[in-house]
Symmetry: none
Subunit: 245 residues, 2 copies
C-alpha cells in the first residue's frame, strides 16, 4: 500500500490543553516543525499570542500563526479518528497506557487515512480525568521514575520525533481499518449511558464510573463506524419489549 | 551479558560546547535528569551559572550544581572511550554519520564498561570541524530537511530518551492485564446471542454473521473477567422493562 508521508504528517494534530507558559507554546511549535508537523491546536491557552511564544518558536512562527484556538478539548478533537493522551502519571485510568513509540506507530497507521490527535496536558497538573476520557489511549515517555517530569515542549519533541520515524519507517501491513470518528464514538457513549440509566444499571448519582470502564474497553478495541452502528443497534433493540413475529 | 543500568547511565557524559544561552543549559540539565543522566560537562559556557539556567532546570538543579566546567572539548573528553558528535549538518566530514537511535545503541554498549560522551555544539554554528575531529562518530536526529533546527535542549532530550531506551530496552509499561478465560467469553457470547435473538436484532436464520462481527470486536479489546461481568450485566439489564424506582 502506498502511504503519502506528507499527508500522514498533516493528519496529526498536536493539542495543548490550557498551556500556562507562552514559551512552551513557541518551543512546541518549533519541535513540531523540525519533524514536519504543522497542525497545532491550543485549548484555552493562558497567554497567546505572545512575544515569548514567537521568540521561542524561532523559525516556526508559521506553525504559531496557523494555530487553532479552541474553547474545549472536545472541539479540538472534532473530526479525529484517534486521540492519544500524553501523560507521565500512572493512576486509575479510563484508558490503557502504552509507551511513546507504540503510540507513534498507532497514530501513524491511523493518520495515513484520517485525522488523529496527540494531546498534552497543562504544565502543572497534566491532563485531567475528563480530558483523558475523551482520548482512546494514554501514552507515556519512558523516564526515570525519580524525576519523570519532562518539559512540555521536550515531550512534544520526543513524540514528534517518534511520529516522524514511525511514518517514514512505516511498512503498513494489511488493509488499514477506518476508525469511527470522535463524534460518532461520543454519540454511542451518550446513547449507551442513557439506556443504562433508564434501565437502572447505572447509579444515577455516579454514572461515570461504570461508563469509564466501558469506554476503556471499547477504546482498546478501536471501533470502526460500522461497529458503532451495530452496537447502537444492539442497545436500541435490547431496550425493546419482547419481539413478536 | 549483565549490565548495571545505573552504572551505564552514570558513564554517559553530556558535553555542551560553548553554549550561548543559559536557558538551554538549564533545560538540557532537566532533559538529562528525566532520563537518569547526570554528568553534564560545559565547555566555555557564555553565561553560567545563571538565574535563567536554574529556572529552566526546574528540579534538576543538582545536575547543574555538579556540572564540570572545562576549558576545552579535549578536557571534557578526557578518560572517555567513545565520543559521539551530535550534528544536524551534512557536510564534508572526517567521521561517519549515523542516526540518533544507532548512536544510542553504540554509546549504551560502550557505557556498560567505560565513560563515553555525547557532544553538542553551539546553538548558532553547531560543532566546529576541530571539535568534530575529536569524536569517533557523528550522530544526526532524523528531521524535516526544510527545517531541521532542533533547539539544543530538545536535541539533548531526544538523545537522552534514546539512551535510556537503549540501556533499559523496551521495558513494559503498566500492570499486565489478566484476561477472561475461554469459558467466560463463550458464556458471554451465548448470553448476548440469545438476548439479541429474543429481541429480534439477529436474523434467526443467520444469527452467526453479526455475532462474528461482535466477537471480532470484543476479541480485539481483550476482555478481562470483570469486564465480561459488566457486559453481561448490561445485556441483562437492558432487557428489563423500564426501571421504576
Amino acid at each position: 500500500m502506498y502511504v503519502n508521508m506528507c499527508d500522514a504528517l498533516k493528519n496529526i494534530r498536536v493539542v495543548l490543553c490550557e498551556p500556562r507558559h507562552a514559551g512552551n507554546i513557541g518551543a512546541a511549535a518549533r519541535a513540531m516543525k523540525t519533524m514536519g508537523l504543522d497542525a497545532l491546536y491550543l485549548v484555552r491557552p493562558a497567554d497567546f499570542p505572545s512575544h515569548e511564544a514567537t521568540r521561542r518558536a524561532s523559525r516556526a512562527t508559521d506553525v504559531l500563526a496557523a494555530a487553532r484556538l479552541c474553547d474545549s478539548l472536545h472541539e479540538a478533537l472534532s473530526g479525529t479518528a484517534l486521540a492519544v493522551a500524553c501523560s507521565a502519571r500512572t493512576r486509575e485510568l479510563a484508558v490503557p497506557a502504552i509507551d511513546a513509540r507504540s503510540a507513534a506507530l498507532r497514530l501513524a497507521g491511523a493518520a495515513a487515512a484520517q485525522p488523529v490527535a496527540l494531546v498534552f496536558g497543562n504544565e502543572t497538573h497534566g491532563m485531567t480525568t475528563a480530558e483523558i476520557s475523551l482520548c482512546q489511549l494514554i501514552a507515556t515517555i519512558p523516564a526515570d521514575p525519580r524525576y519523570a517530569s519532562l518539559n512540555l515542549a521536550a515531550a512534544v519533541q520526543v513524540f514528534a520525533y517518534e511520529l516522524r520515524l514511525a511514518i517514514h519507517g512505516a511498512a503498513p501491513t494489511g488493509t488499514p481499518r477506518t476508525l469511527a470518528g470522535h463524534d460518532a464514538l461520543e454519540g454511542f457513549y451518550a446513547h449507551l449511558e442513557s439506556a443504562l440509566l433508564e434501565s437502572g444499571y447505572l447509579n444515577p448519582e455516579q454514572p461515570k464510573k461504570l461508563m469509564q470502564r466501558l469506554r476503556r474497553l471499547y477504546a482498546r478495541a478501536g471501533l470502526e463506524q460500522e461497529e458503532v452502528n451495530i452496537l447502537r443497534g444492539v442497545v436500541r433493540t435490547l431496550r425493546q419489549p419482547k419481539n413478536i413475529k
